[in-house]
């Protein structure tokens, strides 16, 4: 995350400005390999290190939770420049103010948990 600059606020800003291929290259190449890998695992029923067939469950079908949740996440991503993975990475790299982001991400998660029954899913 760190070396590829996916954890950099600047790169996320640039991505939403469509001014560089970099972030799209990272996500795109990860996905290209990921799709092939996942389909191969499913088709050939590849076994895990523990000897069990790897099961990759389908996600529950719905529309609103994914779209609305996605938009809320995107707003945060654009503002903080960080998704959960990079938050941990930046913490390790020593950018202390990211602690504020982490603490409020946990609070945001908690508030969702308290409000979820009242939200469209």
């Amino acid at each position: 995350m760190f070396k590829s600059e996916a954890a950099s606020w600047f790169r996320i800003y640039e991505m939403f400005q469509f001014k560089s291929f970099h972030m799209y290259g990272i996500i795109g190449s990860a996905l290209a390999i990921g799709v092939v890998m996942t389909q191969l695992i499913k088709r050939y029923k590849i076994k895990s290190a523990f000897g069990e067939t790897i099961v990759i469950p389908d996600k529950t079908k719905s529309f609103y939770r994914y779209s609305l949740g996605g938009i809320v996440f995107g707003l945060g991503w654009g503002l903080s420049g960080a998704c959960p993975g990079p938050i941990f990475t930046l913490l390790g790299a020593g950018f202390l103010p990211i602690i504020v982001v982490l603490v409020f991400a946990v609070i945001g998660t908690w508030v969702y948990g308290m409000l979820m029954d009242k939200l469209p899913h």
């Binding site: 600047f10 890998m37 996605g70 996440f73 654009g78 998704c83 959960p84 946990v106």
Partner: protein, 185 residues
């Protein structure tokens, strides 16, 4: 081997993410970082007030370990594997950011104005970081995943709902970037 100490190109970063996905699947797990935020809530006792957080956090220990790994990785990358960390951005982006008063664009890894230590002394900046974090946490749980869970794992599994989530991520990001950041910064 010099290249290791410079920023890594996308064709190294992307495949490495795919490698992580592979390792996690190979060990019978999944790749989804935002679940850790939920586990952290449970560790803080959120299960007392809400069923959503009432689960055995020990089943998620492996995922917490991935998060710890990310922390260690960031530390190693910053302190041992980087001779230069300034992100070389597109010129237009640097100019744009200068207009928004982010002068560290093109010269640093993160904007000093938002992530430098003195940023903690400015209430407006702290509020922005807090709001950003809150939206990420709330949104990721609502959507049932973040970029790792949906954009990487979900789309790799050809899940249509992950596409809805990723489109949502982009809509949100674009709105923030183009319409809101100029007012917030």
């Amino acid at each position: 081997m010099e290249w290791i100490f410079k920023p890594w190109p996308w064709y190294i970063g992307g495949p490495m993410i795919a490698l992580i996905l592979f390792l996690l699947l190979f060990f019978g797990k999944s790749f989804g970082m935002s679940s850790n935020l939920r586990t952290l809530c449970t560790l803080c006792g959120a299960g007392r007030n809400s069923d959503f957080f009432k689960f055995d956090w020990k089943t998620q220990q492996w995922n917490l370990l991935v998060a710890v790994g990310a922390i260690i990785g960031g530390w190693i990358a910053m302190h041992f594997l980087s001779s230069e960390t300034a992100v070389l951005l597109n010129e237009d982006t640097v100019a744009q950011l200068h207009q928004l008063n982010i002068k560290s664009a093109g010269k640093a890894y993160l904007p000093e104005e938002l992530f430098g230590l003195d940023a903690l002394l400015k209430p407006k900046i702290v509020a922005s970081l807090a709001l950003g974090g809150f939206l990420v946490g709330f949104g990721a749980r609502y959507a049932g995943g973040c970029t790792s869970g949906h954009a990487i794992s979900g789309l790799s599994n050809l899940q249509l709902v992950s596409l809805y989530a990723v489109i949502g991520f982009f809509i949100g990001g674009l709105i923030m970037n183009h319409f809101l950041l100029p007012y917030i910064l």
